[in-house]
Every structure is written in C-alpha cells, then in structure tokens.
C-alpha cells in the first residue's frame, strides 16, 4: 500500500510545509515532488479500473465543429527540412515504424491514405483548459501496429516528431530537442487512436501538425504529437529524451494525461 502511505505522509508534510514558507520553494523541494507525483499512478490505475479498455470518446455531429480550431504549441516547424516538405506538398514525407517490431515499416503519406481510414468528430481538450471540436480522418494506429507486429516485450509506442522545441542561442537554427510523446499499447490500440492526416475534410494544415499527427481522444492535447515521422516501439522510454516519456513530461507534466 505504498500509495496510501505516501498520500498520508504527503498530506501531513505538505500541509506543514505550506504554512511554514512561501509556496515556490515547497513546490521545488524534491521529496515533496516525489510524494505529490505518486497521485499520478493512483489516478491512472483508478481510471483504468473503471474505464473499459475501449470505451469510446463521444463523437459529435458536423454542426458542433468549431468555426476556428485553436492551434497550439509548434505551429510551423522552422527547420529547412520541414520547410522543404511543405514546398513539396509532403509528397516525400515518410513515417517509419521500428524498434521492437517484427516488421519495421516505412510508410509514405500515400501509403497511409490507402489504408482503411476512420473519421471522427471529437473534442480536443488542452491541458490549459480549453476545448475545441474538430473532424479528424486518419488510419487507426492499431492497423499500422498490426502490420508492424510489435514484439511481446513492446510496451510503449514513442512518437518522434519533426518540430524542434527550442533555439537556445536564438540564431534561427533550432536545437535538436524534437517533440516526442508516448502512449502505452492500451491507449495506442484504442479504436479512436489515429494517425490523422485530414482535419475537417481537408489535408491537415501546418499549424495542426501536417502531414500526420496523432489523435488519442481520451487524453489531453499534449499527448497528440504533431508532425509525426517515426513510431518506435519500446519496453521503456527511460532512454528517450529526458526519460519521462514526452517533451512536456520532461518539463514536469504527468505522463498519464487522462485528466
């Protein structure tokens, strides 16, 4: 019962610490963080317990589609590489599937479009608090995974993206900290989890992650990697990026983004 004990310890400690000093140092204290972060596992397990594996997110009607869908995060990856793809209309864009799979794949956009597709009108919930409804079309990720045949020890699907997240020296040349995200195979094989290439019936515009982005409808927006170039199946994401399973996770956001 480590969770409950930690919960109690954390409550007592946090309440004490809170009254003792300003809040920022408390939030930066390592052991306070360690205790507080235990709730994530509890929340994940509790939600998984009560939520069916394949419980579907609500699908809306065309009338509900937002007149303007907010674009957030990277809205135009600045690399020469990406801009070249934009010029070419993404004709040479490829999505690789590798890592712990029996059949590594390289799929062009045309290959993806030939696979059976799914269209869904869903609500996108940003971690900031806002929501927008849009219509997404793409290949169910589980179709692609079925083609690649994950090995039995594969637990996570990591999404590697084309958008670099910083330019520390401000010289216009981006660093190589590309956005990445990960889902476990339960969420990755959910029927509404898509590699989406259309928004509202048109090819995905650049601000929304052209030409391919992830949709994971039971999760918050930051899980839904845009500009996806590579799927890597892994047993653990500890050696990717900062080791927390995603760009925002490395900045302290919860890996489990079901709430």
């Amino acid at each position: 019962m480590p969770d409950r004990r930690n919960l109690l310890r954390g409550a007592a400690a946090a309440a004490g610490a809170l009254t003792l000093s300003a809040c920022k140092p408390v939030s930066q204290t390592q052991w306070v963080q360690n205790v507080l972060y235990t709730a994530e596992g509890l929340t994940r397990r509790a939600q998984r317990l009560f939520v069916g594996r394949h419980a579907l997110a609500r699908e809306y009607s065309k009338a509900d589609i937002a007149p303007v869908f907010r674009a957030n995060g990277t809205i135009n990856p600045p690399t020469d590489d990406y801009q070249q793809h934009v010029k070419e209309g993404f004709a040479y864009w490829e999505v690789k599937v590798d890592g712990l799979v029996e059949h590594p794949l390289t799929l062009t956009l045309a290959d993806l479009r030939k696979l059976p597709s799914r269209t869904q009108i869903t609500r996108h919930d940003c971690v900031e608090g806002w929501s927008c409804i849009g219509e997404w079309t793409g290949v169910p990720l589980r179709t692609v995974l079925a083609m690649a045949k994950p090995k039995t020890n594969a637990r996570y699907c990591v999404f590697h993206c084309a958008d670099p997240m910083s330019d520390t020296d401000n010289d216009g040349v981006a660093d190589d900290d590309f956005y990445y995200e990960s889902l476990d195979l339960l969420e990755a094989t959910h029927p509404q989890t898509l590699l989406a290439y259309d928004l509202n019936g048109k090819p995905l515009p650049v601000p929304y992650g052209a030409p391919v982005r992830l949709r994971a409808e039971r999760q918050l927006g930051y899980k839904m990697a845009k500009y996806v170039e590579r799927l890597e199946l892994l047993e653990s994401f500890a050696h990717i990026g900062g080791g927390k399973g995603g760009y925002w996770e490395d900045q302290g956001y919860n890996w489990y983004a079901g709430i």
Partner: protein, 305 residues
Amino acid sequence: MAVTEAPPEPAQKGFLASSRLAGFILYGAGAKPGEPRIPFYRHTIFVRIAHWLNAGILLVMLMSGLQIFNAHPALYWGPQSNFTHPLLSLFAMQNNAGQVVSGVTQIGPWHFDTTGVLGASRLDGFMVARGFPAWATLPGPQWLAMGRVWHFFFAWLFVINGVLFAIYAFARGHIRDLAPNAHDLRNLPHEIVEHLKLQFPKGDAAKRYNALQKLAYFTVIFVLGPLVVLTGLTMSPTMDAAFPFLPWLFDGRQSARTIHFICAFSFVGFFVVHILMVVLSGTWNNLRSMITGRYEIERDGGAHA
C-alpha cells in the same frame, strides 16, 4: 426568571472576565461577561480531525486550482470554448512597447479595471499578465504542471476525507445533526431575523445546530462537495469516455469547468460567512470546540428547560 444581577466572578476569570473585548472573543456578540456557563462535549475527535484536514486540503485545492485556471483564464458554456465570447475572462492590456499596463476582468458584457489583482498583477516587481495574482496561486509563479500535480494529489485526499466523513455521519447518526428537518425549515424566517440581530441560541438549543447552520453545512458537505468532485471528473477526457452522463449532466466539458469554478468560489463564500459567524458567536468558544471538543453554553435561565 429571577432578575438578580449575577456578580462577576473575578476570582475565576480575573481581568478577562470583566473585559468586554475578552467576552466577545470568548463568547461572541451579546455575551455577558461572568455569566456561568455549562461545558458540553460538542465535536467528536473524528469530526474535529476531518474538519481541519478538510480546511487545509481545501486551501491547497483552491490555490492550485487558481494556478490551473491561470493557464487559460477564461470560462465558457457548452462542450467547447467559444473564444470570442467567454462568460468570464481575465486579461491584460499592453502598451505599444509590449509592457503590461492594466488588468481587465470581463464578465459577460461588462468590463472592470482590476489592475493589480485580476488580469495583471506584480510578480517579482514586474507587472505581468496573469489571471489571479501570485499570492492566490500554488505555486506562486506560473507553473501549470506543478499546479496540476498539487491539485490531483489533494483531490484524492479531499475525496477520501469526504467519503470517510460521510460514512461516519451516516453510521453514527451525525447526519441527523446536519440534515434540516421540516421544523427547521418552518423556523427559517424567524432564525434569519434572530441571526441578523446577532441573537444566538442559548441553553439546550445551543447544543444543536440551528436551521441556518444545518442548511449551510448540509449544502456545503452534501451538495457542493459532490458537485465540485463530479465537475472536476467531467473535465477528464477519459472519464467522459467511460461515463458519458457526466458531460451530459453538466451540459458539456466547458460548462463543467465553469461550474467547478463557481463551486470553488462558493467554498470561499461559505468560508467568509463561516468565519464571520464563528467570530460573532465567540471565536474562542468555537475554536476550542473544534480543537478539544469542549463547548460552553450559556444557561437559558431555565425558562424553557
């Protein structure tokens, strides 16, 4: 009742007993210094612990909630955000040089200048754009990830504490102390008048919660509490997939967020009135009853005993 002046009891309470201020702090408005009082065991240890845990937890929930709110300080109705027509928004105005000069609170069609508190406030000496000011949020500076981590850890404590309290209340009959009955409701107008006159119940009547107290406590514990939890859960996309009645019940995720916000400030409103009543009806007597359980009631003169 015999109208004899009860002599003050200087030996017992000394200077304090004869001071009006002390009388007010001990027993509240209208308390007669030196009046003999009967001790009475008011709150069980279980209730006292749950009460103080809840107070601390609610403070963390409120402040971390405001941190979360600051990431997108606007509220909407329906399933999604109609960015051009928020119900409420807190935003900053900048001058041509890009400096934040004022903070604005918009509620429906109205705009208020709330510079320094809402929309724009000082952080480390600089006026910055932020919904609620740093002193109201946890953590103080903008830090959504950590605000969420606080919020969701304490949400568990809030629910566990609340559920344990509810089980206790039903199992030990405490619910009868809290739930207003028909008699209470009939008495309500009379009690409101008494409260406005700062006339609080005495004698045996003071052992029970009066109708206003029952109504307030019952509503906060059994309506506001569940409502804040349910609206909180409705903002979870995973919960919505499993329990579609949640967003249906609240008319969409963004409305749930708005109701959640209103709930949070209802707790604040309750807190203000609660503290006011505690002070008016005897800060120390009330505080002690919630710490040691001991509450002292004034004799009712035996008139209706």
